[in-house]
Symmetry: C2
Subunit: 346 residues, 2 copies
Amino acid sequence: MTSETTSATGRRHRVTIADVARRAGVTTGAVSMAVNGKPGVSDETRRRIVAIADEMNWRPSHAAQALKGKSAEAIGLVLARPAEVVGEEVFFTKFIAGVQSVLSEHGYSLHLQMARDLRAESAIHRAWIADGRVDGILILDPRADDPRIRALTGSGMPTLVVGGDLDDDGFASLRTDDGALMRLVLDHLVALGHERIGYVTGDQSFAHIRRRMDAFSEYMVDAGTWGAAVAGDFDPALTKQATARLVASPRKPTALVYDSEVMAVAGIAQLVQSGLDVPGDVSVVSWEDSATCRVMHPSVTALNRDAVSLGKSAATEILQLLRHESPEQPDVHAAVVARESTAAPR
Amino acid sequence: MTSETTSATGRRHRVTIADVARRAGVTTGAVSMAVNGKPGVSDETRRRIVAIADEMNWRPSHAAQALKGKSAEAIGLVLARPAEVVGEEVFFTKFIAGVQSVLSEHGYSLHLQMARDLRAESAIHRAWIADGRVDGILILDPRADDPRIRALTGSGMPTLVVGGDLDDDGFASLRTDDGALMRLVLDHLVALGHERIGYVTGDQSFAHIRRRMDAFSEYMVDAGTWGAAVAGDFDPALTKQATARLVASPRKPTALVYDSEVMAVAGIAQLVQSGLDVPGDVSVVSWEDSATCRVMHPSVTALNRDAVSLGKSAATEILQLLRHESPEQPDVHAAVVARESTAAPR
DNA sequence: CTGAAAGCGCTTACAG
DNA sequence: CTGAAAGCGCTTACAG
């Protein structure tokens, strides 16, 4: 339990490789080779040195290792969304928990920062890179012609775009097949008999929201159903407005899809206030599952994307990138969990 | 924009203090003094050196500085709750956002990790300390006789217990006056005319939950109202059971207090399922405000603790601890936001 | 005010 | 297989 010794002056001393070497009667070089499993010492000596190092509770100094050019063993992630949204939407924390679980298994840590906007996010990226603080960067919520990606181009920093579409610009991306997910959601509604469907979207500048919108339109065309998408911007107040507008339409939709669980809750509240019954008059699907969806009354049918798995996949993939392994696109499980908020239209 | 030069071999080189010194025609020592504002160089030389360093886009190497014993300029925080809970409860992210905003203003970063339990949390603390990765540690959700605090005792690591009660064991704590908050909540209900009040609690091993329970009991005694507390453990299923039990009581409470917003939502769902009207039959208060509370139907009366401010206060206070300033107990604003879920009993 | 040097804790090429 | 030394990028005492 003594990872520190106290010198005569009372100052705490870190146990260094030199202390271990002295005690073992070898040089610091030998200790380094022994503990790092490098050739250069006999098996017996190695065992003896390692035992002594353990006993003295020696831990290598990260700073010294970093100075010798060892990698930071860390991945960076900046969240450039308002704290309110990050806090209210269950996706982020689950995603982060997934990322961290895989990284820590591999001895990597996650540098997480919040930023007020994309410019601030890029500034943090630059600082990390200049400092050699991270070995790789994760980008969330890519935009069309994303400025963060442009800024990172040429930096040589391994970057994984989560929810990206293509392996653009030489950056790897963990694709989320938002089109397929949208079809999953719409299949569920159409199977119930819905023919007029509304979609209240999140921030339309996000590439993955655009892909959902495209899939929504195509589905409407192919199936001949009536559909309309209105911007809700992940904002409860806007979501309520969008909902009111949709149900006021002459083609009054019988089902609504919301881009987040907070939006779905807001939408349901608006419907109830408008005197409409859920699911009697309007069915509702949330694009994200949460405890609230499960326990609300009515409980909310939700697309369960398993954000924890998505986080794990992102971590696995960026670690593969660092090792120059060909990243395999993992299969993130997703399914529509049918609950009380969806039913056949009457 | 070139923080790196490319050598003849094509390898990227970091711009070092030696590069700046060479270009300025001085020694590295002079550069160090110049950029750090230490005496030892003339004002003119300093200006010239700083200008050259800027022009070359020089940034000090964190690793080298750390090796020289410079502090890590980082604070550590471990979240030892299941990812589900961290993700579902809005408190954590808001708290973290508040912490980060203050830390980054002061050039500090936040090391954030999730852990599966308190033992794992302590292991992370030890690793951070051994590595000199953090200058201070934040502890959330203190327990009675908290093992994390015991483990940190004697480490010399500045530690702030958030939601602690006293400055126990030589550790500073950011007190949250849970007793006063409970009285605020109960005052709201009693003012509406409630005389039988139920309280569905979170994890009762948490010190702050115990304090709320104590305040609840005392209030009942002093006011002569009927009250009962039942464990809900922050778990929606348990919360529903506790709710069902309370409303089945012969003394059927007319108002229920829940220790989190997810619990409140679960409780309301249970009440509605039991055929009870909110607030007609039972009023409901959530101990935490969120978008869901605002937008749900009925909207939920909530105690708004302003978790962002709490995070800012925690960061401010631990920075004061590091500077050996006497930490002033900041006032974190809190209020009951009355919404549709509370009304006079009928 | 400036220069030359030691040293933080490691790793790694180079001799023996 | 082992020893002695250089060096990563800084900071800081110590001479001049």
